[in-house]
Amino acid sequence: MSDLASLVPILLGGFKTTLAIFGLTLLFSIPLGLLVAVLKMSRFRIVRYPVSFYISVMRGTPLLLQIVAIYFGSYYLGEYSGLDISFDRFPAVIAAFSVNYAAYFAEIFRGGIQSISKGQYEAAYMLGLTKPQTFFRIILPQVVKRVLPASANEVITLVKDTSLAQVIAVTELFALAKKQQAAYASIYPLFVAGVFYYVANLLLSLLFAYAERKLNYYK
């Protein structure tokens, strides 16, 4: 059991990277997802079609592949064009996760926005509220409540997906645990890593349950 005392601090180092990927991805993908959702509902086909294509590619190919594509793709593109557009490993991971999760969030948000009745827009219009006022003060607060359960799913999946970052050698929790597995010649470090993920998600579930309760003041 003395292993645990030395193992936990090592894994905590990787967990910090995991948390950074998690936090930065949410920070970028939620606003981006909202923007994509709004664009997907555009009246103009020229806006709607490329956005639909983007969403279908993001959801239709593995995130693993997207990480590799952004990291190596940007590197080779930079080589050919002579422009400095290549990503470092960590920013490449954040970029790939953000555009990928934005696509999923966009579809959740779109569903939420479209579930708000036309009457809400009409009432706001009759009261003279502007379009931005209507969206941010009337529609969005109601959307937040409706998309919370589906968003919780995505957020929890994201915690586990962070382990994909190791494909371009970003040493997050799981990569580090695997290294320790080799060093200890035991799968024990992987179990400890599993406990880290589980506890993180348990806390998130509680947080979302709390938020849902908080928003239960109206129907």
């Binding site: 009745s117 009457g119 809400q120 009409e122 009432a123 706001a124 219009y125 009759m126 009261l127 003279g128 509220l129 006022q133 003060r137 009337i138 607060p141 109601q142 409540k145 003041y217 109206y218 129907k219």
Partner: protein, 262 residues
């Protein structure tokens, strides 16, 4: 001739036409309404009553015709664009919108806001009223509606009748020149319609100009200065309640009214 001194109707609707695809729902509708008067619009379902209201309140665009509210022209008379009526510029349309209020059949209150916030959001955000003044206005309107103790409640905590009274207060908060009601009691249990009709009657006594689409015939006759009977997109009969409900011998009107007197 002194045209200025002549009394101008506060609401003018002339030759309004509207189609959805190939289905013409409004075929040449005209009426006038003076300030302080109440107009009831009656007619069978699908006669175009609600569409007419939605065209006048700008929730739908009409195809041709003319509308003016409180002396402001919504439609540029005599001008067309691709055969359709040409609307006034956006700022004028907005001004007109702010001078009209609409009470919806299913209330359309904002569920995430308290009763008071539902009423004060427009005065604060649209008119730029300061919060204490808006609050006072909101509380005063609520007490007019007999709901002074519900200011902090959420719409979902209220009965249908109470919700509809809040939505009337919300519409009144912008001090509209003309208030429109789109079947205000149709979504309510029968025992709750009375409280709404009472509120509308008290507004009529205060000389609020109102246009009410309704299926409550007794009420339409009671509260209105003018009644408009619509069927299949045309105004079949219009006049005083005494005329429409008593003297008119129009066959379609008779058939329609017979269904309510049973």
């Amino acid at each position: 001739m002194d045209m200025q001194s002549e009394k101008q109707p506060i609401l003018k609707v002339a030759h309004v036409k509207k189609s959805f695809g190939r289905n013409q729902v409004l075929k040449d509708i005209s009426f006038d309404l003076n300030a302080g008067e109440v107009l009831s619009i009656i007619g069978p379902s699908g006669s175009g009553k609600s569409t007419l209201l939605r065209c006048i309140t700008q929730l739908e665009t009409l195809d041709s015709g003319f509308v003016s509210v409180n002396g402001k022209d919504m439609i540029l008379a005599g001008q067309t664009k691709n055969g359709m009526a040409k609307y006034a510029q956006a700022s004028v349309l907005r001004e007109i919108r702010l001078s009209t209020g609409l009470v919806f059949q299913n209330f359309n209150l904002f569920p995430h806001l308290t009763v008071l916030q539902n009423i004060t959001i427009a005065p604060i955000r649209v008119l730029g009223m300061d919060r204490p003044a808006a609050r006072n206005l909101g509380l005063e309107l609520l007490s007019q509606m007999g709901l002074e103790n519900k200011a902090r409640a959420y719409p979902c905590e209220l009965s249908g009748g109470q919700q509809q009274r809040v939505s009337i207060a919300r519409a009144l908060a912008l001090q509209p020149k003309v208030l429109f009601f789109d079947e205000p009691t149709s979504a309510l249990d029968p025992e709750l319609t009375g409280e709404i009709l009472k509120v509308i009657k008290s507004l009529a006594e205060k000389k609020m100009t109102m246009v009410i689409v309704t299926h409550e015939m007794a009420f339409a006759r009671d509260v209105a200065d003018k009644v408009l009977f619509m069927d299949q997109g045309v105004v079949v009969e219009q006049g005083t309640p005494e005329f429409v409900f008593g003297q008119s011998e129009n066959e379609r009107l008779q058939t329609f009214l017979a269904r309510f007197s049973g």
